[in-house]
């Protein structure tokens, strides 16, 4: 029985590496993430950095400067063994790339109901805001070439304004 289970699991794992829609659609049933995805950084590698910025709107209609909240901490040689910041780095990558896919799929009108949008809004709302701020908005940007930027960053998405309550959260 166990041998059969392992054989079936292996077979499914191998089969699901084939990147065709008809197979990949079944992944939504894999809630326990038992079927791996082994195509790391391929076929299209992540050649960009993603940035989340936000600004507040004040009662007189003026806006604060954009502030970046996702600056990547510089890496050190010991990160080869011990790398506590890697989760944040990966979470930014996952949320922004999933958001980009959902934006393409559902359009700007429906995307505010998606999980990655809500995560970004929730994250932005928890940052420090001006006490008088009435609303906040966020901006997603994509930069190229990191520390040796060869090209100006592109705007991926600009959110609408979201009202801030007195406790600093969004409403």
């Amino acid at each position: 029985m166990i041998v059969a289970v392992l054989f079936a699991w292996l077979l499914l794992s191998a089969l699901m590496q084939i990147r065709v829609d008809v197979l990949q659609r079944w992944r939504r049933f894999d809630v326990l993430h038992l079927i791996p995805q082994y195509n790391f950084f391929a076929p299209v590698p992540g050649m960009n950095d993603f940035h989340v910025l936000y600004r507040d709107c004040l009662p007189d209609g003026a806006a604060t400067d954009w502030a970046e909240i996702t600056a990547i901490a510089p890496r050190h040689w010991w990160n080869a063994v011990w790398h506590p910041h890697r989760r944040q780095r990966k979470a930014i990558f996952d949320v922004t790339t999933t958001f980009a896919k959902e934006l393409q799929l559902y359009g700007a009108e429906k995307v505010p109901l998606s999980v990655p949008y809500l995560l970004l809004l929730n994250y932005v709302s928890a940052q420090d805001h001006r006490p008088a701020a009435t609303s906040t908005q966020f901006l997603l940007m994509m930069s190229y070439g990191g520390h040796e930027a060869a090209k100006e960053p592109d705007v991926m998405f600009l959110s609408t304004l979201h009202g801030l309550d007195t406790a600093g959260g969004w409403r």
Partner: protein, 270 residues
């Protein structure tokens, strides 16, 4: 004694202990940076649970909150760390060891339900390893031991081959620009290597094809002559050490090195 000639029990123990070291490091990394798991962070559970109405049903919500809500999740990580440490130090034929392996497997299955954002391929491979090891721990028969080791070896072959084939299908990898692109990012790059590859596309292309060739060739460990097998394993190990050093992918080293004792067991019998 031939270095390949690991007994099934010895191979399984090595797999478990190396993989457990990776799990322990991953747990500690989260425990020292717990803000990543707060409700307001990108790995927030209350937001992720809105992905489907099932997770918002009152009974399901209550059950999840008990383990996933912040700071309860830190307790779950503490249990996972303890189980990983026990896997490293307990006698491999003890019930304690089997229970520890099962707890690491169970927590590996549970944690992606909290959020899948921030998880990586090393977490994925650890899950595969520990679920498979649980079968061996609770059904310690020679047939199951051998089946688990063959399963892990063949998963390793599928993993490397898929990674290599997927790269070969991408034009950015074939012309070397993909590697240059990755190495010039802040997230996964390296200032010096990025600058070097930007100056020399020949180097970028050569490195890129070396990675593709290595990954696609990995399944040959099962049929190649012994010296070639050692060269393949050494090259694969060097590849993981390099990605840890250059890209900061530290836990991949443990998750993939853990498969090598299984490979050594199987190739002695292939």
């Amino acid at each position: 004694m031939n270095a390949f000639d690991l007994s099934s029990a010895a191979a399984l123990t090595l797999v478990a202990r190396i993989a457990a070291a990776g799990v322990a490091v991953a747990c500690l990394e989260l425990l020292v940076a717990p803000f990543e798991l707060k409700d307001t962070a990108l790995m927030s559970w209350p937001i992720f649970q809105t992905r489907h109405r099932f997770f918002l049903l009152p009974a399901v919500d209550r059950a999840q909150a008990a383990v996933f809500a912040y700071p309860n999740v830190l307790m779950l990580l503490g249990v996972r760390f303890t189980a990983a440490a026990t896997t490293i130090f307990a006698a491999s034929d003890s019930r304690l060891f089997a229970a520890a392996v099962a707890i690491v497997a169970a927590t590996s299955l549970i944690l992606p339900l909290r959020t899948s954002y921030g998880l990586d391929g090393a977490d994925q491979m650890s899950t595969t390893i520990f679920v498979a090891l649980s079968f061996a721990a609770f059904h310690p028969t020679p047939v199951v031991h051998a089946a688990v080791l063959w399963f892990l070896t063949l998963q390793a072959c599928v993993a490397y081959f898929t990674a290599g084939a997927a790269k070969a299908m991408g034009h950015h990898w074939r012309d070397g620009s993909g590697l240059t692109g990755i190495f010039t990012t802040d997230a996964f790059g390296n200032r010096h290597l990025g600058a070097l590859l930007r100056r020399s596309n020949v180097t970028a292309r050569a490195l890129s094809w070396s990675v593709i060739a290595l990954e696609c060739a990995f399944p040959l460990v099962l049929v190649a002559p012994v010296p070639a097998v050692w060269m393949l394993l050494a090259a694969a190990a060097a590849f993981h050490l390099a990605t840890a050093l250059i890209m900061g992918l530290n836990t991949f080293v443990f998750a993939y090195f853990a498969l090598y004792p299984a490979v050594l067991y199987c190739l002695a019998r292939a």
